[in-house]
Structures are given as structure tokens and as C-alpha cells.
Symmetry: C2
Subunit: 606 residues, 2 copies
């Protein structure tokens, strides 16, 4: 960017009037989850695109702590929105296809009822008398807007980034019948204690500001601007990775500020703080940050799983590798619970150096925008069982069909694996790559299918072909999956790349009723001959350019070796299929498969 | 600990009088690096143990931002010090052996001259008129205390943890002739921009406190306690890892505080802030944190290397894996520059979940205390060339000799490698393990020796045997080392465990004039027979319990394979020694080493 020092991520939002904002006032008082009611709650929102006749193409976007309804510009004269790169015609959330709604959240200060509004009971602004609200209250208002005001029976998708993810999660659990798909980005089921600690300090700074006046500063000349600015400065540090903060501080630009600006990083933070107080209200900040700190979808993983069992949507979860406000493991916890709850979920941990901010930046959106658009297309063609009836849209509105899988190359090992799996069984494919085996299973009609993959680009490929996939490293364990979750767990031509062989095998047999392992047989006669005759190490990796020194293959085993391991571990070999894949024939047991087969497929049980 | 919520790391220091503190007033005004002078500078310090007759056993400890001279208790009636576990009779910094000095730093508020002292020019406290000081000024005062007051010609060792590391680094570069050994713990050559950002916000909180009164609050009833408390709360977050913060917040203990305590984490932070303001001065905090933010030993790695060339001490650098105030790479930068400068240095990145705080905690000290005590013993017996004359101590004061290496098992491959290395050459051993090969080289008289090792316990073992060792993963590159830094770089029976073979080999030939690689030959006749006759994969890992599925060996190559790679890469094979290690004989070229040798040793050049 031209001036990295002052670039916007979500920082530089203006406080200009929202030209395209509309508002709706709830016809009834709002009952708050913590008790009490709020009268005359008004919601300010903006919409993009056109609601179709069936009202089946609505996407609701939940903004984060300091966002507002202005998610994107409405036309070329309009200010850019906070997620301009993500939302618009032809963009990942395509407003040519979908009707997009974004509303300022309850307790906010950009139009929707919040602490700076007049308390009807007193005739002066609520200030700190604004009732304590929680995420559920915010979601209730949003839900009424969608269902009561717009009369939309079910959202096509709900998108929540960062703290907006809390709202998406709460909605999915409490209003399961009104949601087809949920997209969670850089979020979790609660804040970490570290993040709460930052919030506590931020509020301490606000309430210690003498101009805070116990929250009744609206009639004062100066509000608690210094405290609020400090709060924002602090928050801002948590949005950036260490690396990104180094880059931001490379500028020697100096701003005029009541704060210390002797260092570039001080000047940068002073700018962030000073800009923020022009557009944000301190009571709103406290109200909302307490709601966020209070949010805890579930105390334990088991409870989270129970909660997610209530949901009926399909899930896409995305994290950023360098995010330390919501570390990837926090997003992954939701993924794991969704898996444990038996839900359809895909997950990608996007490689990024930007930190939490990556959520809003071009390089990251260039990648994860593809995940989002593919997921939305998948939702169109493949609605969830249950709530989902076929969106049944006007062809003009949903013109394209889901992409047809590319032509699958014939592979005899896949043929044999498919024969081992009776139709209709659930299958987990570890190291699924681009999903070739899973696509074959789907082609024949199976639908409870899931992949696990380490390569980010393969994860995208799978999602683009409407396969659910979890981006993770199986060498670090597969605790995401519960005991006996799948009928079959497959490790197809991947065993030779696994470091923790014993762990992965025992996990496969914990998660699956049957494990199917295929691997190149190092005892194959050509390998023997190569070592014996030519004195060079045989190689099981046949990809071009791969040699002993750069192959991903790190384990060398023969059929005899694998049998021996099964024997020691007391794994039962239910079936072994030995193949000569070049001649495309099966080698029967009596014909020395350990010599004549180059690939073995073994079905195991405990 | 019984009550993790209120445990001390460096948090709970009291403001009780320092019963054993002494003071010394500089006889001359102190000229400050930034210009100007300070009159009547007084230093408050504490000492432990006894200075020997040669004054050669003095260790100076540099405390961090909020520490003081009370590093440890003096007797059982005394309060515990901030590094109680590290310093004392029989402890890692053993006061039975060493004379330990710790002084409150210039600008501090525990006795040494600082902003709360009377400005002789005005008769009132300096307040914010206290001159800007830098790390060099602090070090100058410490240096005068040691050299002028105590008359110690050279410190036996200087120990700096966290921000104290800056002082150790500055001393080592500017007063190289007065230092034998430098121990740097959880530190770096400068703060990260992220850490500076936290400091800026901390000072913004202090100076925004209306009770700050532009720094002249000493005659007021209330000082800027809220601002200072917020500063401390913020700093405290950075001392703990995310995991540690979760543990601290598990308590439901609630403190009485002017700050928000609705959450356990808020209560914990309120406690930290409230305690701190009782013992610390806000102007001191600003003065010292600016000195720390300003510190930048060198802008570039090249400059840091030039700086470190001036030093003449031996170095021990320690980081903690979960530290995010000083991430391990910041400590490693100093290590790399010391290596590039040709200095003797060892490095260990201690596995810890505690974050920066690990520096002060028992589990971490239980391990890294051993590194410190071993390093100090090594200094005793093996002083650096140059400044170091043999400490020449009274045997009663330095009673033990350095440990004699354990009995080295005879290994023919080591014998041959030693023959390839002429005496007196410098040697880097990659994957040095417990240092067996390096100890052999030292036994025969070589002394420019360095190991690289991944296992923490092996790193300790090496340091305990007075070998310099760098704790790092060579698969991630060896950029620490400069071109042609060593005569020989050895990779002894480790190639088969390396993932990035091409990278490691090219790095070896960049760093060393000659590379020596030894590896198990997969073409050995027994291996061939095993595959051919028994159909099981041969195994190069001979350790008990190791099989194809759990060995660290991930590369399988024959002598022919390695020769082919050298051919492709145009590496010159200067010499190959093929061994049958069982029969302890060499296999000459004409007798088919690729069949008859189980180990090959190859000397390579570019």
C-alpha cells in the first residue's frame, strides 16, 4: 500500500453520515437476557443486492466491536466500507447473487440504540445506565430485523468475523431453523483470558479518565477522549502481528496528538486513538466489550459440542496463522466441536503474517475470499438436510450450477478401496489431497464424507468441489474426531509420509470402525532388484523431480513389515489386497504379494 | 504453587526497607551520554558472598525494569529476593563461590538516584526534569561501582535477564576488558515495535492521569496511581504466556481495588497494579521505559556483529519458547551476531509454557540454572583468550576442577573423521548430540569447536562438558553462520535424519571450507540381503526399540546415491572412507564399498 502507516484495515473508518443507511424500530419492547426491557429499540442497517422472491438469498453480516452497518460502498460515490474487498458485485460475497444485510449492533453508536441515546425514563442519554447487554441480546435484535422486518424465514448465510463470530455462533445455536450456512472468520467460542485482560485494562483507562464523569459526559465539552483513545491503542496492538507492527513502525510520519509521539510506533498509535474517538462512544465501548468478555458459548468442549448439536447449518471456519487475538486453536475448537456434534464443517488456517487484521486485508481476502465464495456456491446446490429445502431460486438469480468435478484419472487402488467400503458408509480420508477418492465416493452416491489435509491449496480445491475438509496436520494427532465417528477412516498412499505412524494408526482405529491403509510396498521385486543390482536406494515417490533427498516419503515398509506391526499392536487385518498397479492386477496371497505387489491395501480393525 | 493467583514472579515485591542495602556516592558528577551531568549520584546495592583476594570472582546482576538490588535474601530473617531461586549458597549463582553484586539502576526508585530525589538546582524533586538517561548511563554507573568503588579489575560474569540483558550487552561492548563471561536471559538487542507500543501506551496512561501534574506530584496527596497501575497491568500481560494467563485467571479471588474486578482476570490485574504503585514511582517508570525503548544496540545485524567483535567475553544466551515479550528469535539474533563476530557463545531455547515470566519461575530455573552454573564453572577453568588470565584463585575458593568428560566409547568412524581434520582447525559439528566427537577433538588439543543440536538435554550436556553449543534446528537453515566461518563442518551419522538435505549440504559448504558427511550406507550387503531374502525393510537406526515406524531416520541412501547427488550439485568429493564398522576395517574403493561398507565418510568441497 502507498502509505502503510495510515492504511485502513478497520482503523480509519470515518464518522461521515451513512448515506444509504435505513432504520427500523422494534414494534415491541426488547426483553433482555439479563432481565429488564429496552423500549423503542431502533436498528440501523444497510442492504446490498436484491432479495429474491423466495427470500432465500439473504446473507447477514455481523460486524466486530468497532464496525458498523457500512460493510461496503453502495456506488462509486459512496465511501468504502469496512469489508469493501469482500462484499459487492462479483466479489466473494456477491451482491449480484445475494441480498446482503449488515446492521449496527445493539449498544453501538452508529445509529442503533445504545448508551448515547435518550433514556425515555429520564429524558437524558442512558450513559452508563444503559442496561448490561449480552451477545444474545444483540443477536435477538438482528434476528427480529431479518425475520420480522424483512420476513425472511431463513438466512442463506450468516457471516461473522472476529467478535462478529460470537454473534454467528449464538444465532446458529439458538435459531437453528433460520440458517443454512455459517461462516466464522478469525473467531472462537469465547475470548482468551489474555484478550479479556486487555479489555479490562482498556475499560480501566476509560473509567479512570476524569472526563468520564461516571458515564454522564454527553453534556460536557470534553468526553473521556484520552481514556477511549488509550483503549483503542491497546486494542490496535492486538490486531497486528509482531511482524505487521514492525512494518507499521517503519514510517517516520509524525502526527499531532495529545499522546506521546516520540517514536514512530507512538505516532502510529496516537493516530489510531485520535481517529477513533471522533467516531466512537466510550460508553458503547464499555457496554460492548463487557458483552464480549461475558460471552462464553460453553465452558467445556463437551458443552460446546452439545450446543452445536442444536445447530442445523453447514459451517465454514477460517483462521489466520499469525492471529494472536483469536489464535487458530480457538477457531479450531469450534471446528472440533462441530465435528463431534456430527455437523458438516470445513476449516482452513490461512497462512498470513498480518495477524488478526488479515481478516480485512487484500492478500488474505484474495485467498480466503475464494473459500467463502465456494462455500456459498456449495450451499446453493447442496442444502443441508433438515431446515434446508432447495433454495429453488429463479435461474436468473442462481444461474450457475455447482462445478462438475474434473475428470478423475482411473486408479485401480481407488477402485479396490471403494470395493472395501459398502455404499452409504461414512468415510474420513486422511491426507485427502485434492479429494480424488472422496469425489469417487460421492460419484457413487455416498455423502457422509470428510477430508483431512495439510496443504492450504488442496483445502481450497476440496471446498471448491463441495467436499468438507479440515486443514490440519495429522502428525499432531486427530483429537478433533470422536471415537467411532466414522465407519471408515482411510489413509491412502500417505502412510509413507507420516512421522507418527503409531499415533496415526491408533487414532484411525479409535475414530473409525474400520481403518483402510494403502501404501507402496518396499518389498516389490523391482525395488529389491534396484538395491541388489544397482546399489541405489529404491524410491516409493514417483512424482517427477523427487529423489531420496527431497521426497516427502519418510517411512519405508514392506507388506511384511506392516503385518508385523499389526501383529505387535494386535490390530486385526480384515482384508488385504495386494496390487500390481502397473499391470492392474491383484496378486493373490499364494503368489507372494510382498514380492509382486507394488501397493498394498489393508483393512484393519481393533 | 499454593495460590497461583497471588504468586510472586517479579510481581509481589514488597516496599519494605532493604535491610542489607549499602550505598555509594560517585565522587565525580556523572556525564550523561545525551549531554549534561548529574551531580551526587548515589548507588544503592547489595552484595552476597565474599570477594576473593584477587578480586576475580565478582558477578554483577543487572535487574529488569521494576527490580531492585534485593536479588536474594541475605539470611533466613530476610525477605526473599526477586531471584531467590537463582542466587544463594549452593544455588546456580553460588554465593559460596562467587561475590555477587546487584545495584538498583540509575533512574530507579529504590535508593539509587532517580526522579524522586531532590534536584540540587531547585531544592525540589527532579520529577520530570530528571534528565533523559539511556542504558549506557545506567551501565556507566554500574561500571564505576564495580571498578572504582570495589576496585574489581574485571567481572567474572555479568548476568542480565529481560531488560537487564540490555545492560549486559552494552557493558560487554563498551567495557570489553572488564568482563570474562556474559549471561543473557530472555532478552535481545532492542525491544520489538510491539513491546515499544505497549510502553508508549503505558506512558500515555501515566501522563494522562490528572494526578500526574506534569511530573511534579511529590507534594500532592495523591500521585498518578491510576495511570501507573494501568501501566503495570499492561506490562504484566506481556510477562505471561497465553497459557499462563489462563491459569492465573482460574482463581475466583476478588480484590478490593479502584479498578474493574468483575472478572477474575480483572481482579488479578487490579492486584498487580495496586501492589505496584505502593513501591514504584511513575516518573521512574517513564524515565526507565524510555531508556529501554531508546535502546538499540545496532540497527542492523551487520552492525550488531561489528559491535560484538569488540566484546571479549564468553557468552551464554537463554530464551524461553513461549516468551512473547522477547521472542526467542530476538535472543537468537545476539547469538548469531556473536557467532558472526567469532565469539564463543552457547545458546539454549528452554521449553516453557510460562512466557517471559519463566525467567523467574522454579521449573524453568531448575533447568536453566544448570546451564548457568555449568557456564560459570566453564569460565573458571577455561578463561577466554585475551583479557582472561587464569583467575588463579585460591584453591579453597575455587575448589573443584572442571568435570572430566565421561569415558568415550571407541568409534572407528570418529577415528577416521578425526584423521580427516588436521589438528588446530576450527570445526562445527551439526547434530552434535552429547558432543562425543567434539570432546575427542578437544582431547587431542583442538579448541575452536562448536556444536549445533536440537535436543535441549543434549545442549545442557554439552555445556556441562564445556563445549559451546547452539540450540537450533538445522532443517530450518543455518543462517547463524557466516561464509567460510569454519575449516570443517561435520554432519556425522545425522544426514539420514535431515528433511532438507539439499539446504543442509549447501549450508555446510557455505559455512565450511570442507564438509564431512558420514552416513549409514543403505547399500550395505546385509541390508540388501534383508530386503531380498526376508522381505522386510532394512533399518539404519540401530538404537533399541527403533523400527521403521518410529525411527528418526527419514532418508535412505547408498554411497552411490550420495555420489550421484554430489555429481549433480557439482560438489567435489575430496576423500571417501568406507567402513565396515563391525569388523572395524576400511573397505578400499576396488572392493565395492557400496556393498561391503555399512558407513561412509565423505569429505566434500565446492
Amino acid at each position: 500500500m502507498a502509505d502503510d502507516f495510515f492504511d485502513s484495515s478497520d482503523n480509519d473508518r470515518s464518522n461521515k453520515p451513512l448515506l444509504h443507511a435505513e432504520s427500523w424500530t422494534l414494534p415491541e419492547p426488547l426483553s433482555l437476557e439479563g432481565g429488564g426491557v429496552l423500549d423503542n429499540v431502533t436498528v440501523v442497517y444497510e442492504t446490498y443486492g436484491k432479495l429474491n422472491a423466495e427470500k432465500s438469498n439473504a446473507i447477514f453480516i455481523c460486524h466486530a466491536l468497532s464496525g458498523d452497518s457500512h460493510v461496503a460502498s453502495h456506488d462509486s460515490d459512496d465511501d468504502p466500507g469496512w469489508w469493501e474487498l469482500m462484499v459487492g458485485p462479483g466479489k466473494p460475497i456477491d451482491t449480484n447473487r445475494y441480498f446482503v444485510v449488515c446492521a449496527n449492533i445493539l449498544g453501538g453508536c452508529r445509529g442503533t440504540t445504545g448508551p448515547e441515546d435518550i433514556n425515555p425514563a429520564t429524558g437524558i442519554p442512558y450513559g452508563k445506565d444503559f442496561p448490561a447487554i449480552c451477545i444474545a441480546d444483540i443477536v435477538n435484535v438482528n434476528h427480529k430485523l431479518i425475520c420480522d422486518h424483512f420476513g425472511i424465514p431463513s438466512l442463506f448465510a450468516l457471516v461473522g468475523g472476529s467478535l462478529g463470530g460470537f454473534m454467528a455462533l449464538d444465532w446458529a445455536v439458538r435459531y437453528p431453523d433460520t440458517l443454512y450456512g455459517s461462516i466464522m472468520i478469525a473467531t472462537g467460542a469465547r475470548l482468551s483470558q489474555q484478550s479479556r485482560a486487555f479489555d479490562v485494562i482498556a475499560r480501566n483507562a476509560i473509567t479512570s479518565d476524569p472526563n468520564f464523569c461516571d458515564g454522564q459526559y454527553y453534556d460536557k465539552i470534553v468526553g473521556p477522549k484520552k481514556g477511549l483513545a488509550i483503549a483503542r491503542q491497546l486494542g490496535h496492538i492486538t490486531y497486528l502481528s509482531r511482524e505487521a507492527m514492525n512494518r507499521k513502525s517503519a514510517s517516520d510520519r509524525k502526527v499531532d496528538s495529545p499522546f506521546e509521539t516520540i517514536y514512530p510506533v507512538g505516532s502510529y498509535l496516537a493516530h489510531q486513538g485520535d481517529k477513533f474517538v471522533e467516531r466512537f462512544d466510550a460508553n458503547s465501548y464499555c457496554t460492548l466489550s463487557i458483552a464480549l468478555d461475558d460471552y462464553n458459548q460453553s465452558q467445556t468442549f463437551e458443552d460446546l459440542t452439545e450446543d452445536l448439536k442444536k445447530s442445523r447449518c453447514r459451517w465454514l471456519c477460517v483462521s489466520f496463522s499469525s492471529d494472536w487475538l483469536f489464535v487458530p486453536s480457538q477457531t479450531k475448537e469450534i471446528v472440533d466441536a462441530a465435528l463431534a456434534a456430527g455437523k458438516e464443517v470445513s476449516y482452513c488456517n490461512v497462512a498470513s503474517e498480518a495477524g488478526h487484521d488479515g481478516f480485512l486485508l487484500k492478500p488474505e481476502i484474495d485467498f480466503y475470499g475464494q473459500l467463502v465464495s465456494a462455500f456459498l456456491r456449495n450451499l446453493e446446490s447442496n442444502p443441508q438436510v433438515g431446515v434446508h429445502k432447495e433454495p429453488n431460486a429463479d435461474p436468473a438469480e442462481f444461474p450457475e450450477k455447482r462445478p462438475v468435478p474434473y475428470r478423475l484419472k482411473h486408479r485401480i487402488d481407488f477402485d479396490r478401496i471403494l470395493e472395501l467400503i459398502p455404499p452409504g458408509k461414512s468415510v474420513l480420508d486422511l491426507g485427502c489431497g485434492k479429494g480424488e477418492l472422496l469425489l469417487r465416493l460421492r460419484q457413487r452416491g455416498d455423502d457422509v464424507l470428510l477430508g483431512v489435509e495439510l496443504e492450504q491449496k488442496c483445502v481450497l480445491h476440496c471446498i471448491q468441489h463441495d467436499l468438507n475438509v479440515i486443514h490440519t496436520d495429522m502428525d499432531k494427532g486427530l483429537r478433533s474426531f470422536r471415537d467411532n465417528q466414522f465407519d471408515f477412516v482411510v489413509l491412502s498412499k500417505t502412510l509413507q509420509t507420516v512421522r507418527n505412524v503409531e499415533l496415526v494408526l491408533s487414532e484411525m482405529l479409535r475414530i473409525g470402525k474400520t481403518a483402510i491403509v494403502s501404501f507402496p510396498n518396499f518389498g516389490y521385486h523391482r525395488f529389491r532388484t534396484q538395491l541388489e543390482m544397482f546399489g541405489t536406494a529404491p524410491q516409493t515417490d514417483t512424482r517427477p523431480g523427487r529423489k531420496w533427498f527431497n521426497t516427502n516419503d519418510v517411512r519405508f515398509l514392506t507388506i511384511a513389515d506392516f503385518r508385523e506391526l499389526c501383529n505387535v499392536k494386535r490390530y486385526r487385518i480384515q482384508k488385504m489386497i495386494a496390487l500390481d498397479t502397473e499391470r492392474e492386477i491383484e496378486i493373490p496371497e499364494e503368489e507372494s504379494p510382498n514380492v509382486l505387489a507394488d501397493v498394498a491395501i489393508i483393512a484393519l480393525t481393533k
